[in-house]
Amino acid sequence: MPQMTNERVLSRLREEDLSLLHEVSMKTAGVSHLEMCIQCGTCGGSCPSAMDMEHTPRMLFAMLRAGMREEVLRSNTPWICVSCYHCVVRCPQEVHIADVMYTLKSMAIKAKLYKDSTAPHFSQTFVDMVETYGRSFEFGLASRHYLRHFPLRLPGMAPMGFGMITKGRMAITPKKIKHMDQLKAILKCASQLELTS
């Protein structure tokens, strides 16, 4: 009976220092099943971008179990994850791997422990746009992001940007929702809850 096996595994785990593992698991949306990882490596073997990762998901989860907080939060792995959910549907233990990666990203941002700021800045710029307008604003996002992180890519991308604008696929002014005040009130309350949880 799988239920009994899970119980046995859990009781053995409680004897080790699993505070980091539990912290990550608790901060993850839904029930992460992170504690159930059996280190089979199906996740890394299924990952389309594993070749660019410093640690495969399996390795990262072993490091979590070993309490290697700083190494985990410095790893580029969560930032290379493309959220394709291949590993998630293949994981025999049903670990919510992609959601654990989101948790690790937010923990790395809060601890300021990421090495390359490109990805965190992109996420933050996107969120800034959404918090200001309620909608995504691609032109503002792209121009701010590329000027900051990929200025050398801009000449090569100019025809593409020009094409997007002339074909009416990228507006140069943002769209704002009607009840921005309501959304701001919700997000403000949510941010306070985030701090206390």
């Binding site: 696929r169 990228m170 403000k188 949510a190």
Partner: protein, 331 residues
């Protein structure tokens, strides 16, 4: 009359305008009525979830709360964008699976006078309602110009069939919904094993080399299989494969030309609509030659002219591989 609540998502108003136009063009022949969620906001894409958990889920849940308040004879919310679909479905699912998350999100929603009980709504993707509610027979009956002779690879993308909280899809890795639909339109559907492989998502913005590799696999395989074009169900996939194909070609030293259209654009064509009513021509990798195979003429639009490279010069291998920075001639 098939009534649904629509969550369009930000892309449908900008980069995927063609998706919106072509979707609207197929509603009437299939007797579908969409009512847009009033004052919906961005779903946060894959960015917000990686920053703050509760604000991210509250942002998504505001849309669910608004939709539940507005529901008018239907409890089904339709999202045409795979990322929006997944985020809405995910918030609904996790608010239920983790009641403490649900309670906190509702506390935040209350600050804006809103509330959402998870499970109130059914979150579904556009292709799901077309194939499973409207049905392939109704679609087949609406076809007046079969796409016979058009070789299409069906590209489902990753976020639609996975993680699939409600078991809606025929398979997580090789679903056949898009194949079946395109076949109903009369197209020559090519078997495409990479159908649910990732297009790179936001990696085109933050780690272009990773993204180019993923785009290359998809485009090269579609090309090897003799496809005229790819059909997609997702604005992100369309954007990455269409708008970044040129940069990807430049990166690898290749010269692929693989157009990618939204499946609704192909439906519109099969239903007898004209290309300019369906946003055809707004793609950066032109589908003009591909559509000539079915006798559809796409009006020439003013293409932005990229600086042309001289043909003469040193002979270069066709494809570069990025491993070890070494060049390798393939093909």
């Amino acid at each position: 009359m098939n009534k649904y609540i629509l969550y369009p998502g930000c892309s449908m108003e900008s980069s995927a305008r063609a998706y919106m136009e072509s979707m609207n063009a197929i509603l009437e022949p299939l007797d579908i009525h969409f009512e847009e969620i009033d004052d919906w906001n961005c779903c946060g894409a894959t960015e917000y979830l990686g920053i703050n958990l509760i604000p991210a889920y509250s942002l998504i849940a505001r849309n669910l709360a608004l939709a539940a308040k507005q529901k008018n004879g239907t409890r089904t919310v339709v999202a045409p964008c795979s990322a929006c679909y997944l985020n809405l479905a995910k918030a609904d699912h996790y608010m239920q699976e983790r009641p403490s998350l649900g309670a906190k999100v509702n506390e935040a929603l209350a600050a804006g006078g809103l509330q959402y009980t998870p499970g109130t709504l059914d979150v579904r993707h556009l292709i799901d309602i077309l194939v499973n509610d409207i049905g392939l027979d109704a679609i087949r009956n609406a076809v007046v110009r079969p796409l016979k002779g058009l070789k299409v690879v069906p590209y489902m993308g990753c976020m639609l069939p996975r993680p699939d909280y409600k078991n809606r899809w025929s398979d997580h890795e090789h679903p056949t919904e898009l194949d079946d639909l395109l076949r109903a339109l009369g197209a020559d559907v090519i078997d495409y094993p990479l159908t649910t492989e990732c297009c790179g998502g936001h990696m085109t913005q933050i780690g272009p080399e990773t993204a180019f590799e993923l785009i290359m696999r998809l485009v090269a395989d579609a090309d090897d299989r003799g496809a005229h074009l790819m059909a997609t169900v997702c604005p992100m996939c369309q954007m990455n494969i269409d708008a970044y194909q040129n940069e990807m070609n430049h990166f690898f030293g290749t010269d692929y030309h693989m157009p990618i259209l939204f499946f609704t654009q192909l439906m519109g064509l099969a239903f007898g609509r004209e290309p300019d009513e369906l946003g055809i021509g707004t793609e950066l990798v032109s589908s003009r030659n591909a559509l000539a195979n079915i006798g559809v003429e796409v009006p020439v639009t003013q293409e932005p002219s990229a600086p042309r490279k001289k043909d003469e010069g040193l002979p270069m291998p066709r494809r570069w591989t990025k491993q070890e920075g070494k060049k390798e001639a393939v093909k």
